[in-house]
């Protein structure tokens, strides 16, 4: 049963990854990419890494891919112009593809011919989440904190780059707005006939 599920899921992953590249419409490409992410989460569940599977869905499908889709939808893309550069990138693209293929080959060879260890998604703990947290918050605490700081710096950089003060824009100050009293805003004037203010 696990084997059947594995073959169904991996076929979907490979096919949808293929369509990411082959689809003519970039929005369709992103949708295929989302399907590939989602099905990979299914593969992670199959090997017992349910925590990683959920994180993959939350982070990549729920947040990163939404932003991808957001950007791609707003781009006004000329498909003819997009296809023109194809041959220029062919050599570089082929090299990268070869390198990736070699890496996959090495991993597959290591799994097939290496030691006969069976894979365990949650070593030393009842659940995947607990196994991960036991190493993440003890042995790798420093690395964990450092990657957090790197992300924080990246976030602050993005904010600094896009934040500019525009004095001409009128902003709402809610405290000022709700704290306004009648005597500050309305004034009673005694206007004399024929004179005006």
């Amino acid at each position: 049963m696990a084997l059947i599920a594995f073959y169904i899921l991996s076929t979907i992953v490979v096919l949808s990854a293929l369509f990411v590249v082959a689809a003519r419409n970039p929005v369709h490409s992103v949708l295929w990419l989302i399907l590939a992410f989602f099905t990979s989460a299914g593969l992670l569940v199959l090997i017992g890494a349910e925590f990683l599977a959920m994180l993959l869905v939350v982070v990549y499908v729920g947040a990163v891919a939404v932003l991808f889709l957001f950007v791609v939808m707003m781009l006004d893309i000329d498909f003819v112009a997009l296809k023109q550069g194809f041959q220029n990138y062919l050599v570089v693209g082929a090299l990268i593809a070869l390198a990736l293929l070699a890496e996959i080959g090495i991993v597959a060879a290591a799994a097939t011919f290496g030691g006969g260890e069976t894979f365990n998604a949650s070593p030393g703990a009842p659940t995947n989440a607990e196994a991960l947290s036991r190493v993440l918050y003890t042995d790798y605490l420093l690395l964990f904190q450092m990657s957090g700081i790197v992300l924080l710096v990246a976030m602050m950089g993005a904010i600094v780059l896009t934040l500019r003060s525009r004095p001409s824009v009128k902003r709402q100050n809610i405290a000022e707005q709700t704290g306004r009293k009648r005597k500050d805003a309305v004034e009673l004037k005694d206007v004399r006939p024929g004179q005006g203010l």
Binding site: E50, F51, M54, A63, M73, G124, P126
Partner: protein, 402 residues
């Protein structure tokens, strides 16, 4: 899930049939309940505006939703000429499917849950974060300006409020010490003073967290006052403008199913799930099925109460402006919930983890559970094994010690 993967042959067929039967029963009962909740929503709205609401089809208009269903199904499906047909039709299907799939991990009564996942809370969070796709895809595929603007608004809004929902969920998980929703409910056993929203020292943090979760749930499901993706004064009907007949029906049912799912999450995370506000003595001797049925009833009453709150908010609160919505999500809810996670984390470390070394010492095979062999040496009070699975988990042990 793991059990399904290990068995084969006749057992497998029976297991699959049983699972399908459970799923069908849950979906059917829920959809019928939703039909009446929809009418309830309209009746509450009408009552606030001093109208009668739907009252023609059946007694008190009880059959109104079924009449609407027939009307939606029998009308023609109009697909705009410039629309991207596949994505256009896929969008409502995705919305409805995702809304229904979330219910798989909701424990509606003691032991009554389709899939008792160890990462149930994360699963719910993941599924609710996918809900945005149906709306974005529908808005883009319509090839029309208002739906596109509605889709963009919705994407930004749902991504923003997911962050604070995530932190609120984390603070609940820190209190419980487990990602399993049944454990979350079991942690609130024994009366209203143990419910997460009201439990004594944490009430000062958890009750505001409950309010934040409630408001974020409104934004996450595009309910008023955060219904900017379908704001009729600005965008006609937002991402649903081009939809008609059964695709529109799917969007609408999907929306209501996810609203009720959010009500169920509020019930489970903060209001004790199926537990009574005050424990009734003598109920332990009743048969299991009767207890489950009573639990289901309590659960449904609580969900209906939260749905009533959703309906009242829709009736009495004016719509937010878009910059106010973003300000509320990023500048108020996000910092508040972050501080709450730190406070609750400190509380869990210093107050709630007492006894964990004893538990680990007893857990000789390091399995995270105290099995019968490990329990032989010690005597624990009766009823510690809350879910009757023959082994004691850490949350159960902690409650027993309390």
């Amino acid at each position: 899930m793991e059990k399904l993967l290990e068995i084969s042959g006749n057992d497998l067929v029976i297991a699959i049939l049983l699972a399908v039967a459970q799923i069908l029963a849950l979906v059917l009962i829920m959809l019928v309940c939703i039909a009446f909740l929809l009418l309830f929503d309209r009746k509450v709205w009408a009552a606030v505006q001093m109208r009668k609401g739907p009252n023609v089809v059946g007694p008190f208009g009880l059959l109104q939703s079924f009449a609407d269903l027939l009307k939606f199904i029998l009308k023609e499906i109009v697909i705009p000429a410039g629309a991207n047909k596949t994505v256009f039709l896929l969008a409502p299907i995705i919305t409805l499917t995702l809304a229904l799939v979330g219910w798989a991990v909701i424990p509606v009564a003691p032991g009554w849950v389709v899939a008792d996942l160890n990462v149930g809370v994360l699963y719910l969070f993941a599924i609710s974060s996918l809900g945005v796709y149906g709306i974005i895809m529908g808005g883009w595929a319509s090839n029309s300006k208002y739906p596109f603007l509605g889709g963009l608004r919705s994407a930004a809004q749902m991504v923003s409020y997911e962050v604070s929902i995530g932190f609120v969920i984390v603070s609940v998980l820190l209190l419980v010490g487990s990602l399993n929703l049944s454990d979350v409910v079991a942690n609130q056993d024994g009366g209203i003073w143990n419910w997460h929203a009201f439990a004594f020292p944490t009430i000062f943090v958890m009750f505001p967290m409950f309010v934040i979760f409630f408001i974020s749930a409104l934004a996450e499901t595009n309910r008023p006052p955060f219904d900017l993706p379908e704001a009729e004064s600005e965008l006609v009907a937002g991402y649903q403008v081009e939809y008609s007949s059964s695709p529109y029906l799917m969007f609408m049912i999907g929306e209501y199913v996810s609203i009720v799912l959010m009500c169920a999450m509020l019930t489970i995370l903060f209001f004790g799930g199926w537990h009574m506000p005050v424990p009734i003595p003598g109920t332990e001797n009743l048969p299991d099925w009767l207890l489950s049925l009573g639990g289901l009833l309590v659960f449904m009453v609580k969900v209906t109460f939260f749905f009533f709150l959703f309906a009242m908010v829709k009736a009495i609160v004016p719509r937010y402006r878009y910059d106010q919505l973003m300000r509320l999500g990023w500048k108020i809810f996000l910092p508040t919930s972050l501080v709450a996670v730190v406070l609750i984390g400190g509380y869990a470390t210093f107050m709630n983890a007492q006894g964990r070394p004893d538990f680990d010492a007893m857990d000789a095979d390091n399995s995270g559970y105290l099995e019968a062999s490990e329990l032989a040496a010690v005597t624990l009070p009766m009823g510690v094994d809350a879910n009757n699975d023959g082994r004691i988990s850490w949350p159960e042990y902690r409650r027993g010690a309390r």
